[in-house]
Amino acid sequence: MASKAASEAPAGGAAGAPDPRLPGETAADRAPERYPVAEPGGKYLAPGVAGAAKILVVGPLGVGKTTLIGTVSEIRPLSTEALMTRAGARVDTRGGRTKTTTTVALDFGRITLDGDLVLYLFGTPGQQRFLPAWRDLAKGALGALALVDTRDPAASFDALGNLEDLDLPFAVAVNAFPGSPVHSEDDLRVALDLLPSTPLVSCDARDARSSVLALIALVRHLVHAATESS
C-alpha cells in the first residue's frame, strides 16, 4: 500500500513527495521514532528535570490501568516485565519447586510536572500472587490509585488487600464503563470495605481530564495525610 510504504520511508527522504497523510491525521501521528530530543512527548526528559516521583495504578486485568496511564502520559505507555524471583516462587506453589523466576508485565507512563519534577505512573496487576513483584515498586511510591470496575468489584479485592499489606496510601477510582451498574457511594464503600477517609471517585480512564482528576483526588488525600501526621 502506498500509504504504508510512505510511512516507513526515512524522515526527510520524502521531500517533495505527495503528503500521504490520512484525513485528520497530524504529522505527529506519523513521526518516526525520534532520536534524542528533550521535548514533551520525546523519548527523553528535559535536562532540567531534577527528580522523579511515582504513583502506582493498581487493579485487576482489564480494569483500565493501561488506558488511564496512556490517557495522561506524555509518552506512549511502555511495557516492561518485572521478574518475580525467590519470594515469588514461594507463593507460586504449583508442584513444589518449579521455576524460580516468572515475569509480570507492567505498563507505565510519565508526566513532567512544573518542568523539574517527573511523575511516573506504574500499572500494577492486582492478583495476590503478584504481591512480591510489587514490593520493590511500592518502595518510595507516593501512593496508589486503585481502579474498580463496578461490573466486578470483587476483582479488585486482591489489589486493595495488597495496598493494605504494603501500607501504601490509596484512593479508589471507579472506572465508568458504558453500561456499568450504578452503585451508591455507600454501597461501594461497604462492598470494598473502605475506610471513611479513603477517597472514592468516579472516572473515565479514556478521558484525560477525568483521569487527572482521579490522580488529584489521590494526591490531595496524600497531602492531607502527610500534614495530619506531621
Binding site: A38, K43, A52
Partner: protein, 120 residues
C-alpha cells in the same frame, strides 16, 4: 583454550541473569525504577560488553531506569544491576527519586498536586 574471552559472545538469547553474571543486585541498595539516569559522555572502554553499550545508547538523554529497561526489552531487575556497574565506572550519572525517605514529605506532595492541577 577452554574459555577464551575473545570468543565468548553474549546475545539476547540468554536468560536475563546470565547477562549479569548471576548477580541479583549490586552491592548497595538497588536503583529504583524511577531513578533517572543519563550517560556522562565519557568514552566507553573498547572491552565494554554489548549489553552495557546498548544501555549507553539509550542513555543519551535523561530517562528512568524503567524506561531504559523497557527500551532494551530486559527486566528492570537486570538493568538495575548493569546500570549500577555503569554508575560505578563513571559512565552514567543518576538522579535519585525525590522522596528519599520511606514516605514523601508534604512539600513534594504539594508540588505534585499543583503540577497535576495545572494540567486541567
Amino acid at each position: 583454550m577452554t574459555d577464551d574471552p575473545e570468543t565468548r559472545t553474549t546475545t539476547r538469547a540468554v536468560r536475563p541473569y546470565v547477562i549479569t553474571g548471576g548477580r541479583a543486585g549490586a552491592g548497595g541498595a538497588p536503583l529504583s525504577w524511577e531513578t533517572l539516569v543519563t550517560a556522562t559522555g565519557t568514552a566507553a572502554p573498547e572491552t565494554l560488553q554489548p549489553e552495557y553499550r546498548m544501555i549507553l545508547t539509550h542513555c543519551r538523554g535523561l530517562l528512568s531506569v524503567a524506561e531504559v529497561a523497557a527500551h532494551l526489552g530486559q527486566p528492570p531487575s537486570v538493568v538495575q544491576v548493569l546500570l549500577a556497574d555503569l554508575l560505578d565506572w563513571g559512565l552514567i550519572l543518576s538522579r535519585p527519586p525525590v522522596p528519599r525517605a520511606e514516605r514523601a514529605d508534604a512539600a513534594t506532595l504539594r508540588k505534585v498536586l499543583h503540577g497535576l492541577e495545572s494540567r486541567l
